[in-house]
């Protein structure tokens, strides 16, 4: 199983992230927390229903910040509780960041 590389140059490539690529990144990472296969993580099912606990949700938030060089509210996975919602929110955040960078 591959986790997207963490040595990817950050900030300059924000615009490259689509909702689709973010969704698959999230599914892979969440699968690691849950010891499941990424294909089992449906984009519209709340992560809590898979048993993603609040501690793991906070860890996930840290992972996103690290790999995408953004700063998020620690409660982001509570307010955007599915892969689809979280990917959408993250895409917006990254677009906003890229806008600021220009």
């Amino acid at each position: 199983m591959s986790v997207p590389a963490t040595d990817r140059p950050a900030s300059t490539e924000h615009t490259e992230h689509s909702v689709e690529s973010l969704s698959s990144w999230l599914a892979e990472r969440i699968a690691l927390y849950l010891k499941r296969s990424p294909s089992e993580i449906a984009a519209t099912v709340p992560l809590a229903e898979y048993g993603l606990d609040s501690v793991a949700a906070l860890s996930l938030c840290g992972d996103i910040e690290e790999d995408f060089d953004v700063v998020l509210e620690p409660t982001v996975a509570w307010d955007y509780p599915t892969v689809e919602a979280l990917a959408g929110h993250l895409a917006e955040e990254l677009r906003a960041l890229a806008g600021e960078a220009r």
């Binding site: 809590a48 609040s54 501690v55 793991a56 860890s59 910040e65 509570w78």
Partner: protein, 663 residues
């Protein structure tokens, strides 16, 4: 800064504060520091000293009179009228106010060893045996308007600083943990939610209830779910005009007598962390046919606490019972936990303080092998070790409470670390002390009977809303972020963080963050490395121990970075929990170092400014981490033992404050 002109509850003449102050202070009971209290404190010295320590007691009589004078002077400072255009007089500082409050409480409680004192240790023990809080002590706290300690100054109370709250409440825990918990801290835990997120009206009303002496219960707990609040089932269903409450809350302190309840309730059937809300319901508003109080639980310790529960059956509450936003209950809990987790462990230090004094008295009086127990090296080392652990715990409690004011965005980790480590160290240290006390530790009455009560009572600090493992679970998901971003990178904490008597800005209830990417406390230890003095043997010992702590932080960093995702969840392996433990011990070491350096720089308390205690405390923490540091210079241990005896004979507290005690 002078943000607390009024001290309601102390002298009825206190000036009003804040917008609500004008009416609030008028209603606060006029519990005065009567001039008569100073003679009362002095009169205690007439109590018959115990034969075993007759000499010591005689020696301390003079110092106790001095302490009573000191108390009286501190109390006088308070009554100096102070308005914007006040005439020059003694400067009233936060420090002089808190000293006066403590002196007042001490003189009210009196000498615990005096059989004629209705608040003696024997009476406290008898109340425990009877399963009640000592009635005279509850009346005393009512008369002192003690609930005002839990109410922010802006709402007419005396709560302006968390470290001060700890220091004052410690005087109650020193006598009786059950009293501290059952009289008041339950109300503080409930109120923290309302001060953090409540509406103006809720804050005003809760302040009014507390200042009138009422209790408020905090109802989070449901036995089937432990600390896993996200699974709580107690429901507040939307209904016309508000909510209807269904279900049970269990092991709730004061459920039978509280005037209001803070209820953690499910408001959404979906799983997750946005499905709960906090409600504030007044007992008087509830339909008595639709709620009942569950039978009382019988516990191992804090037997005077009235632990029962609540059972609701479709009981309506109005819409304005909601505290904060709907669905934000988990977040509010995690925010207000930062206040309670930071503060409560430091209060429990009072019980260890009394226990250490009890065992010192035993060790000085009892003779074995033709010498006093105090002269047996193992016993005397154990007592010195207990004192050092107490100082380490207090350093950590000091930093955690002051961080709430100074570093609110970093508090989530520090609060969890102090709530995890301090109760654990207190319990470990009580066990060490019990070995010196020997068979007397097992006796439930008499001269040393209070010791076993404290042994039974103290573990309650590790239970409740934030068990040890739950606190470690708060730390675990933050470790890798701290390892990547904070350690060896960030700015050091302001020196104010480490000053036991330093003034503080108000509590920033709204600015507590759920997670942090910074750790200024650790950065302070890292930054200190290049500036440590290396003159005396004790200073060299501190330096060597700090270098080892630095290695520990490097190791923590390496281990945190290699945690797998599964090891960053609530179901993490034991190794993750061990990592959180090591980090907490490291933070305790950074706290000790900071307190010593600040005292040495400020030229304040001569004992705290002496590197001897810092070296000896760091040495114990290093061994707790499994290190095998070089032996300490003998002078360090000698200095610490000397201080143990001085504070015993002079009747001073064993914490960072060296407070004069009534007994």
């Amino acid at each position: 800064m002078l943000s607390d002109p009024a001290v309601p509850g102390l002298r009825g003449a206190a000036a009003p504060t804040g917008p609500a102050g004008a009416t609030e202070t008028a209603t606060v009971r006029k519990a005065a520091v009567e001039p008569a209290t100073a003679p009362k404190a002095a009169a205690e010295t007439t109590a018959a000293p115990r034969a075993a320590v007759r000499k010591a007691a005689a020696e301390s009589a003079a110092t106790r009179k001095a302490a009573a004078r000191e108390a009286a002077t501190a109390a006088e400072t308070i009554v100096t009228p102070r308005t914007a255009d006040a005439a020059p007089g003694p400067r009233v500082t936060q420090e002089s106010l808190v000293q006066a409050r403590i002196a007042d409480l001490e003189s009210r409680f009196g000498d615990p060893d005096d059989p004629a004192n209705p608040l003696s240790a024997a009476r406290v023990l008898a109340a425990d045996e009877a399963g009640e809080l000592p009635p005279a002590a509850e009346r005393l706290l009512d008369d002192a308007g003690f609930n005002a300690e839990f109410v922010p100054t802006a709402l007419g109370g005396r709560l302006d600083r968390l470290d001060t709250l700890v220091r004052v409440t410690r005087q109650v825990f020193r006598r009786d943990v059950a009293l501290g918990l059952g009289y008041g801290i339950t109300s503080f835990m409930a109120a923290a939610n309302v001060w953090t997120a409540g509406s103006e009206e809720q804050r005003r009303r809760l302040a009014e209830l507390l200042l009138n002496g009422s209790k408020v219960s905090v109802a989070y707990h449901e036995l089937p779910h432990g600390n896993d609040f996200v699974r709580n089932e107690f429901r507040a269903d939307a209904a016309p005009g508000g909510f209807r409450l269904h279900g049970r809350k269990e092991v709730i302190n004061n459920a039978d007598r509280a005037a209001a309840f803070v209820l953690f309730s499910r408001t959404d059937d979906r799983p997750g962390s946005r499905s709960h809300s906090v409600l504030l319901a007044e007992r008087g508003q509830l339909d008595p046919a639709r709620f009942s109080v569950l039978p009382r639980y019988s516990a191992v310790g804090v037997r005077g606490c009235r632990l029962s529960g609540l059972d609701f059956d479709g009981c309506p509450v109005p819409a304005d019972a909601l505290v904060g936003e709907s669905g934000h209950g988990v977040e509010l809990a995690l925010r207000s936990f930062q206040l309670t987790r930071s503060a409560i462990p430091g209060m429990g230090i009072g019980a260890l303080d009394t226990s250490l004094r009890t065992v010192v008295r035993f060790a000085l009086g009892r003779r074995l092998y033709r010498r006093s127990v105090m002269e047996i090296p193992h016993a005397s080392a154990t007592l010195a070790g207990a004192f050092l652990d107490l100082l380490s715990c207090d350093s950590m409690a000091l930093v955690a409470t002051r961080a709430v004011h100074l570093l609110p965005d970093e508090t989530s980790v520090y609060a969890a670390a102090v709530k995890y480590l301090v109760p654990r160290m207190l319990t470990d240290t009580m066990y060490d002390l019990s070995i010196v006390l020997g068979a007397r530790f097992y006796v439930r009455e008499g001269e040393f009977g209070l010791f076993q009560k404290h042994v039974r009572d103290l573990p309650v600090l590790s239970l409740g809303h934030a068990g040890s493992a739950a606190c470690q679970a708060t730390i675990i998901p933050q470790l890798s972020r701290l390892a990547r971003r904070a350690w060896f990178a960030g700015d050091e904490a302001p020196a104010e963080l480490f000053r036991p008597r330093g003034e503080l800005p108000p509590i920033p209830f709204g600015r507590l963050a759920l997670a942090s990417g910074r750790d200024s406390l650790s950065a302070s230890l890292v930054a200190a490395v290049d500036e440590l003095p290396s003159g005396s043997p004790a200073e060299l010992a501190v330096q060597a121990l700090v270098m080892r702590m630095l290695d520990q932080l490097r190791q923590l960093q390496e281990d945190s970075l290699s945690l797998t995702p599964q090891d960053r969840t609530a179901l993490a392996s034991p190794a993750s929990f061990a990592l959180a433990d090591r980090y907490a011990v490291f933070l305790a070491a950074a706290s000790v170092l900071g307190v010593w350096r600040a005292a040495a720089r400020d030229g304040g308390d001569p004992f705290l400014a002496d590197p001897a205690w810092a070296a000896a405390a760091l040495h114990r923490l290093a061994r707790r981490l499994g290190q095998r540091p070089a032996d300490l210079p003998a002078a360090c241990e000698g200095r610490v033992r000397e201080e143990v005896l001085r504070r015993f004979h002079e009747r001073r507290s064993y914490d960072l404050y060296d407070t004069p005690l009534a007994g």
